[in-house]
């Protein structure tokens, strides 16, 4: 949008929304919505609290471990589906079901199976993100142009070379897109899991804050999570744009 001849980047429209929030908060329209400025104020005190740091660290650990398994597992799954027809017709169905299943209903069951500790949270991260990574990887492998594969074979590539010198790189843009979506889903999964179980720290904080009507803290915590999710997806988005030039040039 242009104002007085200057191009204003779209992100600035967020400022309008934040402004509305601030006004609504100051007018006391709803008691759950404190002014944005006081949320920001709470933000600084929140992030130095040691229970927050412990909670964040614990959550991040589960997140990192889970993502590691989801990424490796998802890519492997995608490659198996992309290179083997039989595997695809079996796995494809399951992956598609789980990718769109209401996993929030599974969370109560997971605790029964994986206990009360970090393991459950790790499993939630994996469960929320692995399917989309597998699907995207599969799409990348599946759509790798036939002539690229044939090129490899005609110049004498063996299976390993085909996989690591051609297929992997050809599928990379889709893999990265899958990882980005997987990360977003994992963050959502962690929040859903912690809200439903309160096993791990952040969920506990959410619950405490909302029970005690501490809405500044509540929004501050939400804001941190949002920023975290956006940060991660932007980072992966950066990587993605680095390989974008060749995602567009092939069929």
């Amino acid at each position: 949008m242009k104002v007085a001849g200057y191009e204003i980047p779209p992100v600035f429209s967020l400022l309008i929304w934040i402004g509305l929030w601030e006004v609504a908060g100051r007018m006391d329209l709803a008691f759950i919505l404190p002014p944005f400025s006081s949320v920001l104020g709470e933000l600084t005190t929140l992030i130095v609290r040691h229970d927050f740091l412990a909670a964040a660290w614990q959550t991040f650990q589960a997140f990192a471990i889970g993502m590691f398994f989801a990424i490796t597992g998802g890519i492997a799954l995608g490659f198996i589906m992309g290179t083997n027809k039989t595997a695809n017709s079996i796995l494809g169905m399951w992956v598609n079901i789980f990718a769109s299943a209401p996993l929030s209903s599974v969370v109560p069951v997971l605790m029964l199976l994986f206990g009360l500790g970090q393991l459950t949270v790790v499993v939630i991260v994996v469960l929320f993100s692995i399917w989309i990574i597998a699907l995207d990887t599969y799409a990348g492998v599946h759509h790798t142009s036939n002539s690229l594969k044939e090129m490899g074979r005609s110049f004498g590539a063996n299976k390993t070379q085909l996989l690591f010198k051609i297929l992997f790189w050809a599928a990379l843009p889709e893999i990265l897109a899958g990882v980005r979506l997987g990360l977003i889903r994992a963050v959502k999964g962690i929040v859903i899991g912690q809200l439903l179980l309160s096993v791990v720290a952040l969920g506990r904080m959410f619950r405490t804050f909302s029970d005690n009507f501490q809405f500044e803290e509540f929004w501050a915590l939400t804001l941190i999570l949002f920023v975290f999710a956006l940060l991660f997806s932007t980072l992966i988005g950066r990587l993605e744009s680095k390989v974008e030039y060749y995602a567009g040039t092939r069929d």
Partner: protein
Amino acid sequence: PSAFAQDKGTMRVAFGDVPGGEMTNFMIAVARAEERGVKVETVFLKSEDLAAQAIVSGDADIGVGTPYGLIQRVNAPIRMFYQLSMLRFYPVANAEKYKTWKDLDGAKVAVHGRGSGTEALMQVMAKAHGVKYESVSYVPGSGVRAGALMQGRIDVSIVDYERKRLLEREAPGKFVFLDIPDIKATDEALYANTNWLQKEEAAVAILVEELIKTWREINEDPSKIVSLRDKYNVLPDIEKVEVDELLPAFKQGVSINLFPSNGGTAASVQEDFDFFTTSGSLEGNAADLKVNDFWYLGPATAATAKLDAN
């Protein structure tokens, strides 16, 4: 004292709630038990049924709640062994619309959960006053119900004494608290698997002793809750609002006999049977139920005897 500091076993306690000021007395007792060599790990789950599930599946050793229905239905070898607090709930209604129990005919009521003590209480009262609710909906968490009440989203509910204080403080005059007869029933108890209780007899004995000791101390002088919390540095992270509430809350709690001082007896269990059969959580006739099918009173009896002897 060093002789006591040796390892007496580990116990994992599963709460059906997030940590809050109302757990301070329990955590003090835990800290004292730890001084005597019992290691206690705590997990905080979203709801009581999750805690029960953790005990059933063996993920935790001790649960917090009143799983009468569970014990009767699943035939699980689970027994309660320590009575933590008495049922103290306060039916509340929007003062603009309702004044007495009689007005509640055809009202929409929100309680904690299906089969919960809160539902039981509301149903018992309805029966007693001959009214019929239009619907009963389930809204877990006294805090949530209090919030919804303040927002005018619900008009009739039932809250714990802590939220009652909150409602009185935040919106004086807006709500009426309906009177209920003195009810003698357990709100929260500790329970565990019988095998585990036998295996960890020593550790359980220590924990129960410290619980009773602490409960008695606080019943004698509620202000001790603050000094003991500082001394043992329990729940250092609870919110400031909760810290401020600590003393008044416990003072009032003591004044209404919230904290039984002997950990449960055959008589208190019998009272539970009366209440929970009326409410429908337990099936059958109160007189036919056997204490030993639900409670393992050994540790509490022993500890009371020991402490009384001193």
